[in-house]
Each structure stands twice: as C-alpha cells, then as structure tokens.
C-alpha cells in the first residue's frame, strides 16, 4: 500500500454536483482539500437533463451562487437557453431555468476546480473510509493508496451499489457505462454502521435531431431579455450569446397502446425494481398506469449541447426494453423518423438515512464523516449542489474548530432542504418544491443575495471585491422600499444595478404585509431554535413524553428545541416539557460545578 504523505483536512469522495461544490467551498475556507473521483472526464456531469434550475430549484441555484458556490456561474458560461418559469404567477414563485451545453458545463467546472488553491483533484476510486475511535482518519482507494484526512465528505450520487435496468436486463453501473462503487457501499454499511436504503431514479432516451419534423412541435425560444442565473454575470454581455430553442410535443394514443402492451416488460412493472422512485419524476409507464384517463402527456425537447444534434426528451423517462423505446419514439408527432442515440434506463442505488446526520451534515455515527447529495436521499443537481456547498463549508469549519454553519428555514431553501432531511428523513427521492417552504414569501429568486451574501462575506466564501457594491445595493434597496427615490447610481453598483434594486423594492412592496407576517413567524421559530439541547442531555429520556415522541427523539437526536418541535408527531406539551427539563439540566450542571 502506498500512503500519501500529505495530511488532508477534507477529502471529497465523488465529483458530481455535490462533490464539486463541497471541494470548492472547503478549499476556499482554507482547508487542505482533495477530491477523489473515478473519472476526471465526468466531473460535474449532467447525467440526466441538460438544464439547471426550475421551480424552487432555480432559487437554490441563486442561493448557492450568493454563498460563493459555482453552479450559477458555470451555468451562465454554458447557457444555451434561458427561461424564467412562472412569470404568469407572483414573483415569489418566479424561478429561473437554464438549458446548458453539457460538455461546456463539465469542463468549465473541472477548470474551476483545477484553478482553486488548496484543492487537489485525483482520479481514483475510494473503496474504504478508515476510522480510529469512531472518527474518520483516512480513505483507501482501489489502487491500494491510503490518504490521511480529518474529515471525509461522501457525495456518491447514484454510484453507491448502482444497478442499471433496461427492460429485464440488469447491469452494474452508477450511470450507463460507468462502474458503480460496490466495495465502498459494503464498507459503509458493514464496517461503519451507516443505515443504507435503496432508491431508484431514471432517465429518458436521447435522440438525433436529424429527421425531426419541427413543424409538429411548439417552439419555446430563449427569453429575451434574459436574466442570468448568477448574481455576478453581466446581463449585457450574456445577452450577446447565441441561443438555441426548446420544443414541446406530446405523447399519443399510439404511445399509450405500446406502453400498455408492454407493461410486464418494463423493469418497474416486470418485478426487477422494488426500491422507491421519485413521484415527481415518474417514468412514462408510471404515468399511464396511474392516470389512465390522461391520454396525452407533454414532452419537452432540450438540446444537449451546441456541438451535438442530440436532444433530451423530458417526460419520456422509461425502463422499457430497447425495442419498445424505439417504438415509443416513432409514436410521437414530429419524431416519427428520428433515431434513438441512447436508451433510457432506471438506476437503483444505495443511500444513507439522513436522520443519522446533524443539521451541519456530519454523521452522528462516525465523527468527521459528512454526506451530501443523492446519498442523503435527494434528487436533482441543485439539491445536491446546495448540500455539497454546506457540507464543504462545515467540514472546513470543523477542522478549524469553529461553530457549524446552519441555515434556518426562513433563510434559504437550502435550510428547508437540510432541515427536512435530517429531521423528517425521506421515503422517496426528495425534490424541492416551493410548497415545502412555509416562508415562501421570504425565499425568493430576487432576494437570494440580500438573504445570504452577508453570511458569505462573513465566512469568507465571496471575493471581498464585491462587498462594497453589495453594501451599496443593499442600502439602495432599503431606501427604495421606504418609497424614497434615488438619483443616478452609476457603474459602481455593478454587478448590481438600479433596475434590479427597483424590481426588488416593487416585489417587496407587493408582499409587504405577508413578508412581515412570515418574518414574525420566523422570529418565533428562531427563538425556539436558539435553545440548544445541551451535551449529555437525552431528550428521549424525559418522563411524561408521549411514547411515540420519545422514540422519534431517540432517532433524530435534535440539536435544538426548534428542531425537536419540527419532528412530526411531537406535541407542544412535549416541547414545553423539554424546555423545563433542559433548564433543569443546566441548573443541575451549574450546581455540580460549584460543588
């Protein structure tokens, strides 16, 4: 065995959307970081659609961007098509979505990682996380190399024990043609004692645009004018880029018939898949089965890149055998003569129960081990990126022996996401929706910078050169919100602008009463969240709790009284009781100290 002499602070296992953000954030905070991935050429690969953002997800990208993450900036560099979703509805639910050139996205991200000081990237597969006294101390790789580290961040995506299903054919794989991480999965469950679960997701087929009859599609052109997804992208420059279009078509009765005749041949209904898939991303056979009365489902054609004729067909995710997939394509108006380039498939993979994590994403089972992304039972690039960023920040803070950085539910969708995961757990791949946020009016696309950049500057996640412009912008929005007007502001505000400030102030005024109400509620929550559950105090042992509540408290091990109150089924009286017992515990401690 070769033992690498370098002492790392943070090792990130996996180079997907979570891993990349984690590695960048940790390195930025000064942690000596290593990113290990099976294949450097698939770093930040978009394994499913070639798009970033979407409803609620777009807000997450804006939050990642405001916290110094790279997803938004890379998206703007790879952008092929901009669309602001939900503009027909209120600004609280406006969400940006950007179609990207998959290849440009990947190598832009890889280049960013290569340029980042404190960060090494290395192509190798981790097979074991090594520990001493219940704490992480290193990783072993397939090449029999040992790396020493204080913390490990697992961002294994769909690779942990991955199995690919196409009809009845099953092959090991984390993505088509990419090997799964089988040994690591064994190590995590058998040696480290993580509670592994099995989830499923899927992807549709890709087709060659040659032979498409565009006259049968509805065109969705790129927005003009556009809004970049990153706060730091100059919209005037971005506007000069060349854009591609997306197209909308739909399934037919013929599609329906093909699916019905072949149900038993799909991996989903043939009996090969037993794990839980996301209800939000159903396969097309799922849609037909569950909603037989709907005879036409929309399909959305997304270009895979500027240098390819391949299209991704959103809405056509399937685990049918290849012959059925070919027939399905031929049944869609405009695609009759299109040829399939890659078949759709389902993938099953291992993930770990997120209830075993603290809100700063460190494991309660193994000290120094962090998990982010699909391993926590989520789905989506944006959800993964948000967790990766938070895990990266917190691993670095832990090494530096600083307080963890946790976002509250009223501060960010990322806060909602992580709190949901660690407090309630998951029973299907978790996707963000605006309906999950009780403070939806506070968590908007237009105020991600105002919400989160103060944190980012304080932590050192954002370049100081933006700080004075941001402070000016913030002051300007305050002036405008009060209804006062302001004169010329000039270029010193860039990348912000007076128009942006005006737009923000208008939205704020529209929601003013609701904003205040949300904020008041949030303050109440912050008060209970400020009550930390002291070390050594076991909430589940409190007498008088309802039996079910005690059980749940034992599993979740909440960090604050607020988190305890959000565990489903825990009653206000339980919380009242805990409040008294926590105070009692503190006083007893004090008495013991003085004695």
């Amino acid at each position: 065995m070769f033992v690498c002499s370098k002492q790392y602070d943070v090792i990130v296992v996996g180079g997907g959307h979570a891993g990349c953000e984690a590695a960048l954030a940790a390195a930025k905070l000064g942690a000596c970081t290593l990113l290990l991935t099976q294949n450097l050429d698939t770093i930040a690969q978009m394994s499913c659609n070639p798009s970033i953002g979407g409803i609620a997800k777009g807000q997450i990208v804006r939050e990642i961007d405001a916290l110094g993450g790279a997803m938004g900036r890379v998206t703007d560099r790879a952008a092929l098509h901009y669309h602001m979703l939900n503009t027909g509805k209120g600004p609280a639910v406006h969400s940006p979505r950007v179609q990207c050139d998959k290849k440009i996205y990947q190598f832009t991200f890889k280049h960013l990682l290569e340029l980042q000081p404190n960060l090494d990237i290395m192509q190798d597969e981790v097979v074991r996380v090594t520990t001493a006294n219940g704490a992480v101390n290193g990783v072993d790789t397939l090449r029999d190399t040992h790396y020493q580290t204080k913390t490990v961040i697992l961002t294994t995506g769909t690779f942990l024990g991955g199995t690919i299903h196409i009809g009845t054919v099953m092959t090991p794989g984390g993505r088509y043609n990419d090997m799964p991480a089988v040994l690591l999965s064994k190590n995590l469950s058998e040696e480290l004692g993580l509670h592994l679960m099995r989830f499923k997701t899927g992807t549709p087929m890709r087709i060659n645009a040659r032979g498409l009859d565009y006259s049968k599609f509805r065109l969705q052109p790129s927005d003009n004018p556009l809004q970049p997804i990153s706060h730091f992208t100059d919209e005037r420059e971005q506007q000069k880029r060349k854009f591609l279009s997306c197209y909308i078509t739909h399934t037919t009765l013929a599609t329906d018939k093909i699916l019905r005749e072949n149900f038993q041949r799909s991996a989903m209904y043939g009996g090969n898949i037993h794990s839980q898939g996301p209800r939000y991303c159903p396969s097309v056979e799922d849609k037909i089965k569950k909603f037989p009365e709907v005879t036409s489902h929309p399909l959305f054609l997304e270009p895979e890149g500027a240098h390819t004729e391949e299209y991704y067909i959103q809405g056509f995710s399937t685990s049918m055998p290849e012959d059925v997939q070919r027939a399905l394509i031929a049944s869609v108006p405009g695609m009759e003569n299109a040829s399939i380039t890659r078949v759709g498939y389902a993938v099953e993979y291992d993930c770990a129960d997120p209830k075993d994590l603290y809100p700063h994403l460190e494991s309660k089972i193994v000290s120094g081990l962090f998990c982010a992304g699909q391993i926590n039972g989520t789905t989506g690039y944006e959800e993964a990126g948000g967790q990766g960023l938070m895990a990266g920040i917190n691993a670095a803070l832990r090494v530096q022996e600083k307080e963890p950085f946790v976002l509250r539910r009223d501060e960010a969708y990322i806060g909602v996401l992580i709190d949901d995961l660690v407090t309630k757990g998951v029973n299907e791949p978790y996707r963000m929706f605006t309906s999950r946020a009780e403070y939806r009016i506070l968590l908007r696309n237009d105020n991600a910078d105002l919400r989160l950049m103060p944190h980012a500057f304080a932590l050192g996640l954002l370049d100081k050169k933006y700080q004075s412009a941001f402070e000016k912008y913030r002051a300007l929005t305050e002036t405008l919100k009060k209804g006062a007007d302001t004169g010329e502001v000039g270029e010193t505000l860039r990348p912000w602008s007076l128009e942006k400030a005006r737009a923000h102030a208008d939205i704020h005024r529209k929601y003013e009463g609701y904003y205040e109400r949300n904020q008041k509620e949030a303050e109440k929550l912050a008060e209970v969240d400020a009550i930390k559950i002291p070390e050594g105090f076991d909430p589940s042992s409190v007498r008088g709790l309802l039996f079910e509540s005690a059980q749940k408290l034992r599993i979740v091990k909440p960090q604050t009284l607020g988190q305890a109150s959000r565990i489903p089924g825990v009653t206000p009286s339980d919380i009242q009781l805990l409040a008294v017992h926590i105070e009692r515990f503190r006083r007893l401690k004090r008495v013991q100290k003085t004695a």
């Binding site: 939900n86 027909g88 996301p278 309630k424 929706f433 008088g544 009242q576």
Partner: protein, 449 residues
C-alpha cells in the same frame, strides 16, 4: 417575542375567582377592559370596573405585578372576580379577543421556572403537571368527537387541504401547461368551509352560552304543565336575572340561574286565547319558532293520560330539529309514569317530575346543565376556549383570502391564507404538513418531468 397568556388561576367553588394574565402585553391588554385613564400601581390592589363593550362585566380587584417581581417573572395582572362561570369565561374571551392566548396547562409555572422564579424541587411537580396535560390533550385528540362534529372537522380539513393542493400544484408546475384555477371555485370552497366553521363555532361557543345563556324551549300540548314547570323552575331558584317579554307578545322568556349558569326558558303559553282551529295552527308555528332558536328542547308530557294526536304531530316536529331534547313526564303524582307511546323515544333522556309537589326538579336541573358543567371545569374551559379562538382566527384568515381573491392577488397569496387557517386549526384537525399536500398532488395530478 413571548406571547401573553391568560387562564383562571383559582380552583372550583368559592365566591371569588382569580384570573391571571402574564406576558409583555399584560398591562396593555388590561387597559382594553378598564377605563383608559386607570393607573395600576405595581403590587397594589385597585378596585375597578371591567367593561364588556359599554356594559360593566364585573367590578373586580385588579393587581399589577411588574417584571421581574411577579409569579412568572414577567409582567402579570391578576383579576379577582365574582366567581360566576359566565364572568370568568367572558373575561378570558375578551382578553383573547384583544390578543392574549389561553395558557396551556402548567404554562405559568413553566415561565416562572424558566425565569428563575422556582427551584429545582418545585420543577418536578411542574413537569408532572405538564405531562398529565400532555396525556389529557392526547386523549382528547384521540377520542372520537361527537359524530357530527368530527364529520364537519373532517370536511373542513379535506376541503382546505384539497384546495391548497390545487393551488400549490400550479405554483410548482414547471410545464406551465395546467389550466389556471377558476377563482369562483376557490371562492366557493372557501365559503363552504366558512359555513362549516360557523357551525363549529356555534357548537363550541361556550362564550355565547355563558353570555346569552342556554336557550331552553318548553313545548307540549295545552295543559300538559309547561307553565307550571316554568314556574317551578323559576320559583325554586328565585334568582331571576331579567324578566323580558318574548319576541311575540304571547311568548314568555324567563332568565334564571342554575349553579351559576344562565338559562333562558321560553314558554309558548297563551295560545288558547284565539279561536280553537286558528290556535292550533298558531301554536304549532310558535313552538316551531321557539324550538329553532333553542339549544335544548323540553318536551313536557302529561304522564297521567294517554298521548294525544297533537302530541304525536309535535313529536314529529321536535325530531326534525335534531336538537338536544329532554322528555319531561309531568304530573307523576297522579299516576306512575309510563314510557310514552311515541316513536324513537328510547334514546332520549327522560325526567319524571311533579311540578305541583316540586319533585324531580333537582334531577331536571342537573340534566339540563350537565353539558355546561362539563365545559366549566377549569382545564376543559380553556381547551374549548382555545378551540373556539382558533376557529375564529381561521375564519378571519379565510375571510382575508376572499378579499385577496377579489383583488386577484394570486395563488401564492391565497395559499398564505389557507396555510394560515390550517395552522390555526392544527389542534382541532391535526397538522397538515407539506408532505400531506404533496400526497394529494401526486395522487390527483399527473405532474413531473
């Protein structure tokens, strides 16, 4: 920001009841009930009038304790009142209307402990108290409520959750393909729910019962002894609060007090002064009207004779009312009381009395006020008041939603109000989580990429 909580702090019985109000707004809330100019010096008792609107609710001794020199360590106001369940209930209701929150069991002591006003030994008792409240509340939540009530609650929950799902699915729809929700249908659903909530507040309205009294209609054939029953009830208690003539010149309303509860008796006497055939029609009409307004119906029967056709017809009418009904078998001194030869009487409470001899009156009074006694027990009064307040707050939310629909404010705004209403109803309906809403969405709509 801590809420300001209130509750009755003294036990059952006695001539004086103590209501405690604790929290940052204690003084402000007190001034909503007293003269604006009233100065309350800390730790000094002040004798003053408490107003319910323009009328005086009670004259009370009010004491203000400034934080931290109080039981809870917060600003506290204590009211020493006349121990009438109506006065106490109404005071709590008024305080809640002004912004106070009914205290949970043990909450005063909890605050006292957290503010360092109680030592560790005392804390154990407090924990036991909260724990017992926890179990009791859990039992209440688990116990199947009265059939109709739980049905209505279920209806409210389903309707609001479904409506929220309808709105949320559109807010979270990336395809932008779904037809917008028609605002008339949103309005209709909300109005339906408001109607249901109204039914519920009517049921729960302890405050109303205590303020206006329990309305009791005395019905029966002429000469069955309604008037003597009225006299017997009134005479026994002698505590006539008011003596007002009814809505029609021939209906008599007598307000009496039984065990501290206000009871308004309505007698449909005097119909015999008309021509016979007309009188019968008029009698039925008046009985009906009295029954419609009543909370309880006393059907008075002459036990000494057979059921007559008039009583058969009246019984059919009574059953249609679907109200709490007590069968009063009068004149039991003359003959032993048989089970009346009427349909479906088995499930109704029967009380045997003799107005002449005054027999059975105690029993009748006990039966009559039993539901009021139940709500007047300390803990339950609070919990019902809580529920009542929650329903009213939910109602305000939904009315707010209707206003926003008029202004076409948008789904995310309607959702705020519906979520608000559901949050207020959490104790009554159980929590409706985002996952519950998503469950509805995924079961009803084919959404997703």
């Amino acid at each position: 920001m801590q809420s300001t909580i209130c509750a009755k702090a003294s036990g059952q019985g006695g001539a004086v009841a103590l209501v405690r109000l604790s929290g940052p707004d204690a003084l402000v809330l007190t001034h909503t009930l007293t003269a604006k100019t009233l100065i309350l010096e800390p730790r000094r008792q002040t004798f003053c009038s408490l107003y319910d609107g323009k009328s005086v609710l009670d004259k009370a001794l009010v004491t203000y304790f400034r934080a931290p020199h109080s039981f809870t360590g917060e600003d506290v106001v204590e009211f020493a009142l006349h121990a009438s369940p109506y006065i106490v209930g109404r005071l709590l209701e008024l305080l809640c209307r002004a912004g106070a929150v009914p205290a949970k069991r043990g909450e005063f002591s909890q605050r006292a402990f957290l503010n360092g006003k109680m030592d560790l030994v005392e804390a154990q008792g407090l924990c036991d108290l909260i724990a017992s409240g926890n179990k009791a509340a859990h039992r209440v939540a688990m116990a199947s409520l009265d059939g109709k009530l739980s049905e209505k609650l279920g209806e409210v929950k389903t309707k609001l959750t479904d409506l929220l799902a309808q709105i949320e699915v559109r807010l979270d729809d990336a395809d932008e393909e779904m037809p917008p929700l028609c605002s008339d249908s949103i309005r209709q659903t909300i109005e339906d729910v408001l109607t249901s909530i109204k039914t519920l507040t009517d049921t729960f309205s302890v405050g109303r019962l205590m303020k206006d009294g329990l309305k009791v209609a005395l019905v029966g054939a002429p000469n069955s002894g309604k008037s003597s029953l009225l006299n017997a009830l009134v005479g026994f208690d002698r505590a006539i609060v008011t003596d007002q003539s009814g809505t029609t010149r021939d209906t008599v309303e007598e307000a009496i007090e039984i065990n501290g509860h206000k009871i308004v008796l309505t007698d449909t006497a005097g119909i015999r002064s008309h021509a016979l055939d007309l009188a019968e029609q008029e009698g039925i009409r008046r009985s009906r009207r009295a029954m419609e307004k009543a909370d309880v119906i006393l059907f008075v029967l002459d036990a000494s004779r057979e059921i007559i056709t008039e009583e058969q017809a009246l019984w059919t009418d009574i059953q249609k009312q679907q109200k709490r009904t007590i069968l009063v078998l009068n004149k039991c001194d003359k003959a032993p009381a048989p089970v009346p030869a009427l349909e479906n009487t088995a499930t109704y409470t029967r009380v045997v009395v003799s107005c002449k001899k005054g027999e059975g009156m105690d029993e009748l009074k006990k039966v009559l006020t039993a539901p009021l006694q139940a709500v007047a027990t300390d803990g339950l009064l609070i919990s019902h008041l809580r529920h009542y307040e929650e329903l009213l707050r939910a109602q305000t939310e939904l009315e707010g939603a209707l206003l926003q629909i008029d202004q076409k404010a948008g789904g995310e705004i309607y959702a705020e109000h519906i979520r608000g209403a559901l949050a207020h109803l959490k104790d009554l309906l159980g929590e409706v989580t985002p996952d519950d809403v998503l469950d509805v969405i995924f079961s009803k709509f084919c959404v997703g990429k």
